[in-house]
């Protein structure tokens, strides 16, 4: 795939200069009376690694299937460049998919599987042979070219599924939880490989997963889907540091959700109080456990919030430790420390008000 235009990607995602490749406009999907997706609008840039993250039943696979052409949207449009994509049958779309269960053709060899797309496009045999062997080399599977899919391992099948899609040089690659069937170690290894492969070929990837860690590690941007609606679309750093809603804050990593009361620029929650430029009324805040510190005896730095509490639970995680602290008035804070050095009883906690990020409530959805 040396002829594929190489896009030098350093810090993707933040790069707003790149052109939009795929544009999903107000897409909705209903199965009978069951609403699976409502009013989804999303853009994917060229060379971008976008992850659609969501729990099972959030509609993420349905959205991917609409882009691939296996489902028809009940409303809305999908555009690729200046062409309407959602009116074309799947076999005319320059989009390829890596299926969750790989979907390799059992009656064809590894080599024939990879060659499939080029064969049906009636490319010259010499070109097919060259591109297939190149693709197999890229995924380090040249040695298994003549094997049947049933004779190779799950991880190897995964590589073949990837090669079979990439050999067609699609403009966009869709990946439907391709790593979910692999064991933890292989999975981490494939995450790194997949990411570097994506940078190498410069093709836009839309990656579907329910694993927030996977999404954080691999993506330029994450689109978090909840019950058929987009909660937030942002870079991993942005989505972690500034979650838009309570749901996002809880789904990505651990967090303390604080329901406070704002009056004249001061937030109060039980024994806590800090200043925030917010209108009066109830407000919800997300405070990450690692942003709360165990305070020393010395006086607090000005502007930090300090509270004393009783340790109820300590969980050792190796590099860090999670501590549940009861601070009175029904307030329980979860704190992540780099190791406390033993059992604790009463502790002083502190955090800076800037780390208490205001988030919107996430109302229940049916």
């Amino acid at each position: 795939m040396t002829t594929t235009p190489q896009i030098a990607v350093t810090s993707a995602g933040d790069d707003v200069s790149r052109t939009t490749l795929l544009s999903i406009r107000n897409v909705a999907k209903r199965f009978a009376k069951n609403v699976v997706l409502r009013d989804i609008s999303l853009e994917v840039k060229e060379g971008e690694f976008l992850t659609i993250l969501g729990e099972s039943g959030s509609g993420k696979t349905t959205l991917l299937r609409i882009i691939a052409g296996f489902e028809t949207a009940s409303a809305g449009e999908v555009w690729m460049g200046d062409a309407r994509l959602d009116r074309q049958p799947p076999y005319r779309r320059r989009v390829n998919t890596v299926f969750q269960s790989y979907a390799l053709f059992p009656h064809l060899t590894v080599e024939q599987n990879v060659a499939y797309g080029l064969r049906v496009a009636k490319r010259p045999e010499a070109e097919i042979a060259a591109r297939v062997s190149e693709a197999l080399e890229k995924v380090k599977m040249s040695a298994h070219a003549k094997s049947k899919p049933s004779k190779i391992s799950g991880g190897q099948q995964q590589r073949i599924a990837l090669a079979r899609a990439l050999v067609n040089r699609p403009q966009l690659l869709l990946l439907d939880e391709p790593l979910s069937a692999l064991d933890a170690n292989l999975r981490r290894q494939m995450q790194v490989e997949l990411k570097s492969l994506q940078r190498e070929v410069g093709i836009s990837f839309i990656f579907v997963t329910h694993d927030q860690e996977e999404a954080m590690v691999m993506s330029d941007r994450i689109a978090l889907l909840r019950a058929g609606e987009l909660e937030q679309v942002a870079t991993p750093r942005e989505i972690y540091g500034h979650p838009a809603t309570a749901y996002v804050a809880q789904f990505i990593g651990h967090t303390n959700l604080l329901k406070g009361e704002v009056r004249a620029g001061v937030v109060r929650r039980g024994p806590l109080a800090w200043t925030a430029a917010l209108p009066d009324g109830a407000a919800l805040f997300s405070l990450r456990p690692e942003n709360i510190r165990l305070a020393s005896e010395k006086a607090t730095a000005p502007g930090t919030v300090r509270v004393r509490g009783k340790v109820r639970q300590q969980a050792f995680h190796g590099a860090t430790e999670l501590i549940r602290v009861e601070c009175g008035d029904g307030l329980v804070l979860v704190v992540r420390t780099p190791g406390s050095g033993g059992a604790l009883d009463e502790v002083d906690l502190e955090f800076s008000p800037a780390d208490a990020v205001p988030v919107r409530e996430s109302p229940e959805r049916i």
């Binding site: 691939a68 052409g69 296996f70 049958p89 799947p90 076999y91 005319r92 989009v95 390829n96 998919t97 299926f99 269960s101 979907a103 390799l104 053709f105 059992p106 009656h107 499939y116 797309g117 049906v120 496009a121 049947k148 049933s150 079979r164 899609a165 067609n168």
Partner: protein, 282 residues
């Protein structure tokens, strides 16, 4: 795991059944095929190959055997041509009415064979439904004679009767094809036609082989359809066997012909099983 007594109790009855009702009769038939009949119509227990020699020498026997195979081959072909599209449509496109349509294909199997054969007789006869209709609309002036009492009638009737047998294994094979393979094929740019020939058909071959075997073996040994609708030109090998065991009272020759057919069918089954294995990937 299981005690020896339990294993014996489970395996003995079927073993006994097969021995008493299948292997022993076949052995007896095999012995008969080497014996002969005296002028006074008594079985002579002298061992020789005369019956097999007669099979090759007397034209009517091997010609009828060949004709039976030719009829069975045509029935197989037509059953597949009817059964495959039906199974394909049912499996891939009849999403909601699937069960109903499946039942409609199966129900004829519950209707007596004789009734269906007679039905064709009333349709194809010289004053039957079809001829009456053709003359009524002035397409023909005389009844078409080839419709009934001909190989045509036999092939038609047997195709009608054995198409469900070809349909069933094909349908089962098509149902077993994971639908994401079809999606993967479309995803890789294959049109529905290309997808059918490159993915669906190759993966359904075991079903086609099984269906073809059913249709061929069952119609090869059929004797009612040729008896009722075949006429002199539509006689099949089983009719000869029946008359040899019955009116002609020549059990040894009948046994020899039966044994040859048995051998033919066993070879066919072995061959089709190999073919099925070669094309199955689960």
């Amino acid at each position: 795991m299981f005690s020896r007594a339990y294993k014996a109790a489970v395996t003995l009855p079927p073993l006994l059944w097969v021995t008493v009702f299948l292997l022993l009769p076949y052995l007896l038939m095999f012995c008969y095929s080497f014996w002969s009949v005296s002028a006074s119509q008594a079985i002579v227990h002298s061992w020789n190959l005369d019956n097999y020699g007669q099979l090759l020498r007397v034209n009517v026997y091997w010609q009828t055997l060949l004709r039976s195979m030719w009829i069975a081959a045509r029935v197989t072909l037509f059953s597949l041509l009817l059964g495959y599209p039906l199974a394909y449509f049912l499996s891939f496109y009849a999403s909601k009415k699937k069960d109903l349509l499946y039942q409609l294909v199966i129900i004829p199997l519950w209707v007596s064979y004789l009734v269906r054969a007679y039905a064709w007789k009333t349709i194809l006869g010289s004053d039957g439904v079809l001829n009456t209709l053709l003359q009524y609309v002035h397409l023909t002036t005389h009844p078409l004679e080839f419709l009934l009492y001909s190989p045509f009638a036999v092939v038609l009737t047997l195709t009608h009767i054995y198409t469900p047998f070809a349909f069933l294994p094909i349908y089962a094979a098509l149902e077993h094809i994971p639908r994401n393979l079809v999606e993967a094929s479309h995803d890789l740019g294959a049109t529905p036609g290309q997808t059918f020939w490159k993915v669906i058909f190759p993966l359904s071959i075991p079903g086609v082989v099984a269906g073809a075997t059913f249709a061929f073996v069952l119609s090869l040994g059929d004797f009612l359809a040729p008896l009722l609708l075949g006429g002199p030109s539509g006689i099949m090998i089983s009719n000869i066997v029946v008359s040899l065991f019955g009116a002609a009272y020549n059990w040894p020759l009948g046994a020899a012909i039966s044994f040859c057919m048995l051998l033919l069918v066993v070879c066919l089954l072995v061959f089709s099983e190999r073919l099925e294995k070669k094309w199955s990937f689960s």
